[in-house]
Amino acid sequence: MTDRRQFDVLVVGGGPAGIAAACCAAEASLRVAVADDNPALGGQIWRAQQFSPSTREAAHWCRRLQNSPVQHLVGMRVFAQADARTLVAESETAVFELAFQKLILATGARERFLPFPGWTLPNVMGAGGLQALAKSGLDVRGRKVVVAGTGPLLLAVAAHLKSYGADVLLIAEQVSRRRLLQFALGLAAQPSKLREALSLRRQLAGTPYLTSCWPVAADGENKLERITLRRGAKTWSLPCDYLACGFHLVPNTELAALLGCTLEHGTVRVNDLQETTVPGVYCAGEPTGIGGLELSLLEGQIAGYASAGRFDTARSLFTRRNRLRRFASRLERAFALRPELKELPHPQTLVCRCEDVALSRLREHSSWRAAKLLTRCGMGPCQGRVCGPALEFLLGWQPESVRPPVFPVRVETLMAAAIRDEPGTSLPDPALRS
């Protein structure tokens, strides 16, 4: 029923961190594979760029990947663990057991979404969400787009959409101008980041960038027609085709948690060699803390070399990585969410989009657990990946423990996995074994 594959090093996640990890591990003549849920490797930032990379860095890594013997397991969603050295994954039509000696988790990040009236309307999307669709064939030429939320991603998304021909009306950033300037001044110590920021600014010449500004409502008949923004005492509406709205990023830590890796403050704890608290399991990129492309590439390389036992090569990258980590913590402080955003959702605003649970129903409960049991909040197909980070901000609820499958899978997949189940394994749920 299942197809079993054996690797020396298995990388889960094919973004920059995963690609770098795989390339470095493969240099040591190991059998290396990258498993990724998407139709191609590259992650979100290098989505659809393998054959026409947009930067020198992307070109370098795409070429390196093409010239390495790394196996690409795309369209492959890892959802459970069969035993300490085997993961189980599902493709569009089959089930796979992926056995490994060393594992590198490079599962990336997702956007943080905050609920506000109208946020469930079609064409209200994540900032990275609309960008991903534009990279995947959506024609945005001439479309009126408002980009909103927080974080450096907003600028990158706006510049991208503009280059695709979208009419970016404005960028609304919740952080204050003062805080942003402080952050920008600190960029002087990071020449590459400064160059990036200046280049984005050039590309966005003529597009208003409003600080201390955020969306308070989206309206329309069956789809978005206009967005209402607030800035200080001023509130105004703007007709638009798309709202691209995300409030910075949250690490994808579900698989690490399932494997028993220790998390702290929502990130995966790693040592200097990027090894988690589970021996032989490494983690690189955004799951260890949101730090962006350059840091992800360095952490990926370190994890790749370390997994192959090339510790000296890994150590030679520590200084650069540690400098970028300091930048990452400044980034997190600079784009912290302002408390006023907790007032964004009205009592009747849906928070859980899978089960359509409104904020007023959640406020009746004191914890995730109680709310889950009584409202089904977080129990739909996204398994709380969207509402969880929102509720952590809105109500201070901490995420619950993770149980397999970490992604919803087909019943046939669960059956195939359970049939192969042997004593001593932990798949996927006791109820399914009998």
């Binding site: 139709p39 979404f113 079609p122 209200v124 990275g128 995947s136």
Partner: protein, 82 residues
């Protein structure tokens, strides 16, 4: 003219550039609503990267397929939630 593929969305033929995801094709065909939520609201893609499950459609008879994670194939039959 880029190479293209033809699929059907709710029985209507649509031609899109090869390499497009099903989610992009559905939006290009003028359907912002992909599915109905449990309380009947129209919903479309949110995250664009396989996390939120808002873009689920039926593909060749298989239900609950995330359209943002699937590339269009020649002759594919896509059905939206009504």
């Amino acid at each position: 003219m880029p190479e293209s593929v033809q699929l059907t969305i709710n029985g209507v033929p649509v031609r899109v550039p090869r390499g497009s995801t099903v989610a992009a094709a559905v939006l290009l065909a003028g359907h912002p609503g992909f599915r109905r939520s449990v309380s009947g609201e129209a919903r479309g893609p949110l995250c664009g990267m396989g996390i939120c499950f808002e873009c689920c459609v039926a593909v060749d008879g298989r239900q609950h397929v995330r359209s943002c994670q699937l590339l269009c194939r020649e002759g594919m039959e896509v059905t939206l939630g009504d």
